[in-house]
């Protein structure tokens, strides 16, 4: 298990920079008066997407989960644009689900149920065998903790600036 290539300080700085940039974009056009629940909810979604995107971009394509996240975000945005034109784009994020299941049965994994749950949690985990899945999970956990920390600090910053 190689977690040494994950340098927390550089990951944090990369992530925070991107996230702040995204935050300013999200917050800029907004006027203070309009704060309906709907809008707050929309803003929440955008912020969450910004956080995930920043995290995935900070990791680039080094990891399967980051690639899966980026792909998912891109296809989602693409599908949203298509939906606005009246078309329905079916985004298949589980294209390789069948392949993953085959692997599982072949290896006779005893921990099939939990591995399945883990696969649902970790983006892109559907196509991985247990070995790689555990690797990705470890890296993903590390990135999630950094992400949570940076979002929290960003929140403090926003709190302090308003």
């Amino acid at each position: 298990m190689d977690l040494q290539n994950l340098n927390p300080s550089s990951l944090k700085s990369r992530f925070t920079a991107r996230f702040l940039r995204a935050l300013t974009e999200i917050n800029a056009p907004k006027t203070i008066s309009s704060s309906s629940p709907r809008e707050i909810f929309q803003r929440y979604r955008r912020i969450k997407v910004a956080a995930d995107k920043s995290m995935a971009y900070s990791v680039r394509s080094r990891r399967i989960w980051s690639r899966a996240t980026l792909w998912r975000l891109r296809t989602r945005s693409r599908s949203r644009r298509l939906v606005s034109f009246g078309r329905r784009a079916s985004v298949k994020t589980r294209t390789t689900a069948s392949h993953g299941k085959e692997n599982k049965e072949h290896h006779g994994a005893v921990l099939g149920v939990q591995a399945e749950e883990l696969r649902e949690l970790v983006p892109g985990g559907e196509a991985m065998d247990l070995c790689n899945l555990l690797d990705e999970t470890a890296h993903y956990i590390k990135c999630l903790t950094t992400q949570g920390f940076c979002v929290y600090m960003g929140g403090l910053l926003c709190e302090g600036c308003c």
């Binding site: 944090k12 935050l23 629940p37 939990q114 949690l121 247990l130 956990i141 949570g148 920390f149 929140g155």
Partner: protein, 377 residues
């Protein structure tokens, strides 16, 4: 025998210098100790067979522990491998007798057989050891070993024919951490010709040993190797997920991991919701200094108590509605955390006065959900 003695002597001289520099290059530590021993009991060494040598080893070094002549079967896969592995990792501790016990058995066996051929290499390496770090030494060793890899099998065959130990030996020169490259030998017992040696070409080796009475065909060995890898990774994960030290067993560990990942994801969602609800117009974010500040935050995993957090939870009615709206849209599954949020947003109107320290990044998942529940009174 005489030839070996001579080579010993040549090594001893280097060993004298090296004994001063014991703190370095832990991969050669046991060899140094060999040299130290030989310095004092050179004559005895000549006449010693392997077990005697080991006994000498233990007594002369004054360790309180008797070196057990462990059967190689005990050295299974990852457990003892870890001990081997830890051996160079905790290098500078010279006085660690426990580790010494494990290696000399193999090392001594190694010693008797491969000493003549590899002594030159080790002598050279000990001399250069002063300037070089452990990993570069190991790289040299590996290159030296790798060059002779074609004759690897041959040497192994005749080596095994000489001594009866079953199972694997770790070549002393190539000993290193798990994460660094390990090169291992699998000895083929003359009496047990059917035990398979898992020849791995890639640098990261997993030791798989065939016990007595276990199947030794390629499938089961590959299966066992895979299981060893998985258990090794589970151990790494155990370090990452807090509060998993007591849990043994893969299923429990996986449950904990799943809970932890879920709580981390929920935490990020919650924090982003908080930011969205802040209603702040941020034009002048310190874009330059902030990332550096965040990056250099000391021990970022432990956050100080969020004294400012109470203000965050003073959700005005609008924000409470938004939270409810969010929950109604089933953004988050109805779990403990979100139920806590819902109850808090409904019940609290005057704000939160009391909060647990938000050291969420080091809390176990149970504690995390508890915190969510309790922090919203």
């Amino acid at each position: 025998m005489l030839h070996r003695l001579e080579s010993l002597e040549s090594c001893n001289y280097n060993g004298m210098d090296v004994a001063v520099l014991e703190k370095q290059a832990a991969g050669l530590k046991w060899q140094q100790q060999n040299y130290v021993v030989q310095n004092s009991n050179l004559v005895d060494l000549c006449a010693s067979s392997v077990p005697q040598f080991q006994g000498l080893f233990g007594s002369n070094l004054g360790r309180g522990q008797m070196i057990e002549l462990k059967r190689p079967e005990v050295f299974l896969g990852s457990d003892d491998f870890q001990e081997f592995v830890n051996f160079p990792v905790a290098g500078p501790e010279f006085g660690d007798s426990e580790k010494l016990d494990l290696v000399p058995h193999e090392a001594a066996a190694d010693y008797c057989i491969s000493r003549t051929s590899s002594c030159q290499m080790t002598a050279h390496n000990t001399s250069v050891m002063k300037e070089e770090r452990e990993d570069t030494i190991l790289e040299k060793m590996e290159s030296a070993i790798g060059s002779g890899k074609e004759s690897f099998n041959k040497r192994k065959a005749e080596a095994v024919a000489d001594h009866k130990s079953k199972g694997k030996r770790i070549k002393g020169e190539g000993e290193s951490e798990v994460k660094a490259k390990c090169s291992t030998e699998i000895s083929r017992d003359s009496s047990k010709e059917n035990s398979k040696a898992s020849e791995v070409q890639k640098p990261d080796y997993i030791l798989v040993r065939a016990h007595r009475g276990q199947a030794t065909d390629s499938h089961s060995l590959a299966e066992r190797a895979r299981r060893e890898k998985i258990s090794k990774k589970m151990k790494c994960l155990q370090d990452l997920v807090p509060g998993c030290n007591k849990i043994t067993g893969k299923t429990g560990m996986l449950d904990e991991i799943i809970n932890y990942v879920q709580s981390l994801q929920r935490q990020v969602e919650f924090l982003s919701m908080k930011i969205a609800a802040l209603n702040s117009s941020v034009e002048n974010l310190p874009m330059k200094e902030f990332p550096a500040y965040v990056a250099n935050f000391p021990a970022a995993a432990k956050l100080p108590e969020m004294a400012g957090l109470p203000s965050y939870f003073q959700l005005n009615p609008l924000q409470k509605e938004s939270v409810n709206c969010m929950l109604n849209e089933s953004m988050l599954p109805p779990q403990t955390a979100t139920e806590g949020i819902a109850s808090a947003s409904v019940s609290s109107s005057s704000g939160i006065t009391q909060l647990q320290p938000f050291s969420a990044w080091n809390m176990d998942p149970q504690g995390l959900s508890n915190m969510y529940n309790m922090g919203f009174y």
